[in-house]
Symmetry: D2
Subunit: 177 residues, 4 copies
């Protein structure tokens, strides 16, 4: 296992209205994830709606700290960001700034933008923790891991699989050891 200092953690996942499918099914899980991360780390997200908003709400409920790395001029920042970075870049290009700025990335469900973020994290040698059972690319990418933990033959960094929020916390602690 790869070990490193972990201070800043990124969370990626579904965008969209938190009260509609598919985000509403995992709303409780996202809030809880935010609470547990918010007690321990600075939390970076893409700063918008969906998983980003719910996790950030959880972070703030425990007095944690949120950084939102937003596309364009930051117009659609959610209300939980302590710092808003307005990248001027489109949805996908801005994701590279998000993953570069953190020590590890947690993935929750997600469509194509999330898939790009998972791969971007790996290409930038940031450990990725897949929160299994959340659907979308978080579950789909698990099917194509090489040796169960790499995203290409260069084996740049490990991809981890967590079955619960407790698992996520434990894996982050192991990475940081």
């Amino acid at each position: 296992m790869d070990t490193r200092q972990v201070k800043n953690v990124g969370v990626i996942g579904y965008s969209g209205n938190p009260k509609e499918t598919p985000v509403k099914e995992i709303a409780e899980l996202c809030l809880k994830l935010g609470e547990e991360l918010g007690k321990r780390y600075n939390v970076f997200t893409g700063g918008r709606d969906g998983v980003m908003e719910l996790v950030s709400k959880g972070v703030k409920s425990v007095g944690g700290f949120c950084v939102g790395v937003l596309p364009w001029e930051g117009e659609d920042s959610n209300e939980y960001n302590d710092v808003v970075i307005k990248t001027g870049l489109d949805f996908q290009m801005r994701s590279f700034i998000l993953v570069k700025s953190v020590d590890a990335v947690i993935s929750v469900g997600g469509e194509i933008g999330t898939a790009i973020e998972i791969l971007a994290a790996y290409a930038n040698k940031k450990p990725v923790i897949l929160l299994r059972g959340t659907g979308g690319w978080t579950d789909r990418i698990a099917d194509v891991l090489i040796d169960g933990k790499y995203l290409d033959n260069r084996k740049l960094v490990e991809v981890y699989q967590a079955m619960s929020v407790e698992d996520v916390v434990e894996i982050l602690e192991r990475i940081a050891k």
Copy 2:
């Protein structure tokens, strides 16, 4: 089938020394792909070595036209580029400019950078043609297609599978119809 004007085609795939594995196994195929594309389209690549260099060599052997969209200051441009775009961006961020600038993308083998380009093309609604049998992410991504042709539930654009260079040409003609 999605139809559109096709004038500029991007090719993505393995980087690395063209005389070493895994690129040398598909060297002939890349040259042939370059020849067939070079007779019909402007060919855009990432401008460097590996598949990019071999395809571009094929393009120039038939008098075609190559655009290389390079990372950083373009230091590692291959010798076949007619136009070199120096993006100042890293390997992955520059890939978004490549896929945005073309009408369709052909994928040949490839590690994590290629995986990001496949997803970037799809996210930018550019049809992707997987040249099957070339290994790496080109074959791996085929295992996670939704309904055999989409990369997420939004079904933004089709992903095609070609078994040969002839197939690639035929699919491009169908897309352009």
Copy 3:
């Protein structure tokens, strides 16, 4: 006068060793600027050495909050940044993210990178306060202002001139009114 909410303030200026000319001549001024800004606003800088480091040191000495928006992978972050954004972009391109993310920009001395940041702020409609007497482009740009306060004929936003740190604070308060 243009009025707006001011919560996040950017400071731009000379990079380089804070103990060498030209930065050492304005070291006291930078510390004081940091202190006054740190009591009132979140302070964003380019996160590196020179004016950025001295101002950030001043901000932290009063318990303020610093965000560093760094080029590349953030390798040369100074020790005063609470949040480090690693943009993956070169020195100049990353400056656009800095100016987009703040409500106003204060300029102190500076070579070509600072000149680009002054213009970038104006192009993004962010008020710029020139701290006069600090040399470099901060003083030089004052000579080409249109009607004493604009940087082009579109008159996108005002450029202000401050003669002291007190002046800077007062102008920021006027802008925020």
Copy 4:
């Protein structure tokens, strides 16, 4: 004098309707500039209207070759571009890709975007030729040159002043020697 291979030349300047002030006053000059450059070099512009469009029209009238480096998704490409690069970046950030991709830059009039491009070229060590008498930042920047030819104390590269299109051609030939 700095000498280098010159094959790709960038032209920057006023955007806007070519039939309206201020572009219409310099329309003939732009066409002529395009013709002379088009006989000798590949011409790169920002790909849009104004000076970009008129120069490109001149380039094509003599059978030359134009590359347009466009913001966003390239929607507002003029009709004279042989190659269109869609950068996904905003107006100013995309300018850095334009200046990095050429060997020298010629400036014609221009508002804030042109000013940023002049400074971006200099910061990237690309010689800049100011076509004097065309107004805007092309004339304004001449007033703040250090030793009549530099844009900061680092003296990264020379800024030249041309009084006519013939002068521009001659300076380019001297640079390329």
